[in-house]
């Protein structure tokens, strides 16, 4: 079975879906001839032509707004926004139109499109290239939010996203684009939207994370094990709609939870998860739910970036606190 990194896995998933369904088109800046600045769409224009893998002018609102029109008219567009920081100019299209069309037209028109965007920090990039804006979109009714943390899931999730009836924001943790290689079968498979995954079982506490932070969380779980703490680790994979069941079952078993998010702390997804745990499982809790997060600040440039990003050490500190309660 071929081993692939995250970039190659998404590329493979896109290719398979374009083979399967002629309505699938890709559009964005530098996605065609260049194959994307991270090479996620490498080779696709050569294979499917410039009508289906489209290099657009430099305009995020243009890309996303046009993708919306395409989706409404029956195509299955996959729009790329080169970095998550540049989603901002497309926000009007996403919030005012894409997320609302089903409701506004009482189901007459729908917007089954995917917006792909590299996500998060950790690659020492320039300004606006290291943000974690997932909460803004989770807070936007009508759009789903997906983020893989492994190559296997990346292929399965991008395929499922393209087939989904609803618009999906597909975040790609750029820090682990090439950091993990694993077996990604050539065969057809999808990973369901809206299902979290238990990556590691344990009885002492539940660690909940997503995106590039999953790897840090797994490392923290290993470190904690040396201190005699057995942590269960959950990768959410889909952030909206949230797979509440998976983490609630786990927390009811362990009685303790630490949520790890790269994004700023206030009003992050961690806050929502924490709220749901206490709303439904208060009597199972042995300790307050802990959050290890980025700060409520702008992500600093590279000289200070490593202070901002949650590390296994910071996560272990949170684990100790929860275990000692």
């Amino acid at each position: 079975m071929p081993k692939r990194n995250l970039v190659e896995a998404i590329n493979r998933g896109l290719m398979e879906e374009m083979e399967r369904d002629p309505a699938v088109v890709i559009l964005g800046e530098d996605v065609g001839r260049e194959g994307g600045v991270f090479r996620v769409t490498d080779g696709l224009q050569a294979r499917f032509g410039a009508d289906r893998v489209i290099d657009t002018p430099l305009a995020e609102s243009g890309i996303v707004g046009a993708a919306f029109g395409m989706a409404v008219k029956g195509l299955r567009p996959v729009a790329e926004i080169q970095f998550e920081g540049f989603l901002a100019p497309a926000m009007d299209q996403i919030m005012s139109h894409i997320a609302r069309i089903r409701t506004r037209s009482r189901g007459r028109f729908t917007s089954p499109l995917v917006i792909r965007s590299p996500f998060g920090g950790g690659i020492h990039a320039p300004e606006h290239h290291s943000d974690s804006p997932e909460a803004i979109f989770i807070h936007t009714p009508g759009i789903k939010v997906v983020i893989p943390a492994s190559p296997y899931d990346a292929k399965g999730l991008i395929k499922a996203a393209i087939r989904d009836a609803d618009p999906i924001l597909f975040f790609e943790p750029k820090r682990i684009y090439r950091a993990i290689k694993e077996e990604v079968p050539d065969e057809e498979y999808t990973v369901p939207i809206g299902k979290a995954k238990v990556l590691r079982e344990g009885d002492d506490l539940t660690l909940i994370s997503w995106g590039a932070m999953v790897r840090e969380t797994l490392r923290a779980a290993e470190m904690a094990e040396k201190e005699g703490v057995k942590a269960e680790v959950i990768d959410l994979r889909t952030l909206s709609p949230l797979d509440e069941e998976t983490f609630l079952i786990s927390v009811r078993k362990t009685g303790r939870a630490v949520i790890v998010q790269e994004a700023p702390r206030t009003c992050g997804l961690g806050a929502e998860i924490s709220a749901r745990i206490q709303e439904t499982s208060l009597l199972s809790l042995e300790a307050p739910v802990e959050r290890i997060t980025g700060f409520d600040t702008i992500v600093p440039l590279l000289k200070l970036e490593n202070h901002y990003l949650p590390t296994p050490e910071r996560i272990v500190r949170g684990i100790r606190k929860v275990m000692a309660f």
């Binding site: 530098d30 001839r33 600045v37 002018p57 430099l58 409520d296 600093p300 440039l301 200070l304 500190r317």
Partner: protein, 359 residues
């Protein structure tokens, strides 16, 4: 000049030809000695740019957007400005920053990932680099508007590339500037590529300069590799702005010799032959030729100048590399005018974590 060269007729202002010939009747009020001084700035910026590239390759700097090929347009236009004019740069404006008084050390610091490099001295009116493409023309418009309302006799200038002209905000900026007759100069460096996308796929317009016409003001295409053309157009646009004549769009036709940034591989999207063709239009070569013809430049002078410039650049590199690292508090300090209780708590907690780690 702006009215004389009609972009719709394919007319482009060029004063100093690639072979070093100067159109005397178009010559702006610049003596040969001034041209030599400005040429030295062009050369200095090229050297600084090369140094930045090599620092990045050695892992001593973060991602960098090289400026090679665009130096003359930047020097010429920036030199046309007055002391109090405000500059709104994009991310490929090393030459403009330097010309407007941003210390070389700070230019390097910023690209080294140290945000203290974006804090310009008090008497320098250069806004921090805009990494988002095409959103900052509106900022120049707003600042020009404020100057007009405050009755300050200055203009603003915004630098951007051909790619930026596809962004909605660019059009909103042009429209506002036209409607309110604002003292702003839109300086587009059309360097032929937005990362991989060639200029002709960016817009179906024959020129970028002609876009001004739709917004009700003048646009001019200049040879962006011609220091004198860039200077002459910017100077006239500034005079026009200051005398209440409103905005101008200048399209400087140029070429990016290097990659988009150090993270880019241009061999994916352009051919060596194309680069070679543009090499003949290199802004440095024509200035060298012209000045040599006037007896104002030769190999000896160049060697001497390069030696001094290298020393100055190396000093700046050393300063940037030996400065003590920014403190952790800097992450929090500038988020609001005063640090909020929540931020204070997060900082205190993180400092406690760092202490625990040490012990």
């Amino acid at each position: 000049m702006i009215e004389r060269f009609d972009p719709l007729k394919g007319e482009m202002l060029r004063i100093l030809h690639p072979d070093g010939r100067l159109e005397e009747d178009l010559r702006p009020g610049l003596s040969d000695e001034s041209i030599r001084d400005l040429f030295q700035e062009v050369l200095f910026i090229r050297m600084l740019d090369q140094k930045a590239l090599s620092l990045q390759r050695q892992g001593r700097m973060g991602t960098y957007a090289p400026v090679q090929g665009q130096e003359a347009g930047q020097v010429g236009s920036a030199f046309a400005l007055g002391k109090g004019d405000w500059v709104f740069p994009s991310f490929r404006e090393t030459g403009v920053l330097y010309m407007r008084g941003v210390p070389v050390r700070d230019i390097l610091l910023y690209w080294m990932g140290d945000e203290r490099g974006a804090k310009v001295p008090e008497d320098v009116f250069v806004f921090p680099i805009s990494v988002p493409v095409g959103t900052h023309p509106l900022h120049a418009v707003g600042a020009a508007w404020a100057a007009k309302l405050q009755k300050e006799n200055i203009c603003t200038i915004v630098y951007f590339g051909d790619g930026a002209t596809s962004e909605g905000d660019f059009h909103e900026a042009m429209n506002f500037a036209g409607v309110f007759q604002l003292p702003v100069i839109f300086f587009c460096q059309n360097n032929q590529y937005a990362i991989s996308l060639p200029r002709k796929k960016q817009t179906a317009s024959k020129t970028i300069a002609q876009k001004a016409i739709a917004y009700g003001f003048g646009g001019i295409q200049v040879d962006g590799n011609d220091l004198l053309a860039a200077y002459a157009a910017a100077r006239e646009a500034r005079e026009k702005a200051l005398s209440g004549g409103g905005p101008t769009l200048i399209e400087a036709v140029t070429y990016r010799f290097g990659p988009h940034t150090t993270a880019d591989d241009p061999t994916k999207y352009r051919k060596e032959e194309e680069i070679e063709e543009w090499k003949g239009l290199d802004p440095v070569i024509r200035l060298q030729k012209y000045l040599a013809g006037k007896g104002l430049w030769d190999e000896g002078l160049e060697r001497k100048f390069r030696g001094e410039a290298e020393e100055k650049i190396n000093r700046a590199v050393q300063e940037a590399e030996t400065i003590s690292p920014p403190p952790v508090e800097d992450i929090f300090r500038y988020t609001y005018s005063q640090m909020t209780p929540v931020l204070k708590e997060q900082l205190t907690d993180y400092q406690a974590f760092l202490k625990e780690k040490e012990s």
